[in-house]
């Protein structure tokens, strides 16, 4: 930006400089001609002086016609340099600094935006990876939960079947025990009745002689027992 302003100032000052410098070769050539005329026409001084006056009057006429004078030209150049210096010092330089600062800010902003874009892309990629990983984890958890539920259902089913079988077996055993107990009670009752009846019958029907005979036989049986 600074270079642009310097170039602009130089471009503005160039036509003025050319205009001022355009008079210098013209004056030297006139002087040369005057010297030549003076040498060649030394004798004719008047004529030369007239010619010189004519030339000078012509030059003066030209400069007057264009309104160019050396002090004015120098003063204008000095003024231009001062104005250029003031402009450069108080306008171009702050503006250039402001523009540089803004350009730096824009560059920083662009860099920040680029970084943000990179970070956003990275975050997006991480998010996508996390979502993908979460989906994989969720699928694994779902599969595991399904397997566990299946195993639990099978286990509970087997447990229920075992409990039902155990209950049936216990009920069967209880029924069998009850039946055995009832049969035992019946047998004991029958035996008691048989014994009681037999005792009564034998007590009533056996005579004393038969009892004594049986007693002697039993005594001998005891005596002969080993």
């Amino acid at each position: 930006m600074k270079a642009i302003f310097i170039t602009l100032l130089l471009a503005l000052s160039l036509p003025l400089g050319l205009f001022a410098a355009d008079e210098a070769p013209a004056a030297s050539s006139v002087e040369g001609k005057l010297h030549g005329v003076a040498e060649q026409l030394h004798a004719d001084l008047e004529h030369v002086e007239e010619s010189l006056h004519a030339e000078e009057s012509k030059l003066t006429m030209i400069t007057e016609k264009f309104g160019v004078s050396l002090p004015t030209l120098i003063a204008q150049m000095v003024n231009f340099v001062i104005v250029a210096f003031v402009l450069y010092k108080f306008a171009v330089k702050p503006i250039a600094a402001t523009l540089d600062e803004r350009q730096q800010k824009i560059a920083d902003g662009l860099q920040y935006a680029e970084e943000m874009k990179t970070q956003l892309a990275e975050a997006e990629r991480e998010r996508a990876e996390k979502v993908k990983q979460a989906a994989i984890d969720a699928q694994a958890i779902l599969t595991e939960a399904r397997e566990q539920s299946k195993e639990m259902i099978e286990s509970k089913t087997q447990e229920a079947a075992a409990q039902a079988e155990a209950m049936i077996r216990k009920a069967s055993e209880a029924t069998e025990l009850e039946r055995q107990k009832m049969l035992s009670d019946v047998r004991q009752e029958v035996a008691r009745l048989v014994v009681a009846t037999s005792s009564k019958v034998l007590s009533r029907d056996l005579s004393d002689a038969e009892k004594q005979t049986f007693s002697d036989s039993a005594a001998k049986e005891l005596a002969n027992a080993s």
Binding site: S184, R187, Q188, V190, A191, R192, V194, V195, S198, S199, L202, S203, L206, D208, E210, K211, Q212, F214, S215, D216, A218, A219, K220, E221, L222, A223, N224, A225
Partner: protein
């Protein structure tokens, strides 16, 4: 009441003195022991005599076979029982009969705490117990 240890030992000695040559308690020997006791002065005569009586009863029970029967029993059968259990226990056993109509028929012999049953009632009872 707990018996004195010395009285118990003395009673057991007196029971030994009350046995004859065959090892059985005899009335004569018991009379001699009692006569002897009258001559000595005992420290506690009543307890001593009670202990002596208790041991004499136990000894007699061990030497007696109580034969329970609903009817009479022949002398031959009694002798056979005495011979049998004298040989079994290694001491003279005398048999005494006792009538017990609940036996229906047969005999039941008790020697001390041992019971040998050959009665009809006992057999029926065992039959009833074996029926389950």
């Amino acid at each position: 009441m707990k018996r004195d240890k010395k009285i118990t030992q003395l009673a057991k000695k007196l029971v030994e003195f009350s046995k004859d040559e065959s090892g059985a308690v005899s009335e004569a020997k018991v009379g001699e022991v009692l006569a002897g006791l009258k001559q000595v002065e005992l420290r506690n005569p009543l307890a001593t005599l009670k202990a002596y009586l208790s041991y004499i009863r136990r000894e007699i029970a061990l030497q007696t076979a109580v034969v329970s029967t609903p009817a009479g029993l022949s002398e031959e059968s009694l002798k056979a029982i005495e011979t049998k259990y004298s040989a079994v226990y290694g001491r003279p056993i005398s048999a005494v009969t006792r009538e017990d109509a609940s036996l229906i028929a047969g005999v039941r012999v008790r020697v001390g705490d041992d019971v040998y049953d050959a009665s009809v009632a006992g057999r029926l009872q065992r039959l009833a117990e074996n029926v389950h």
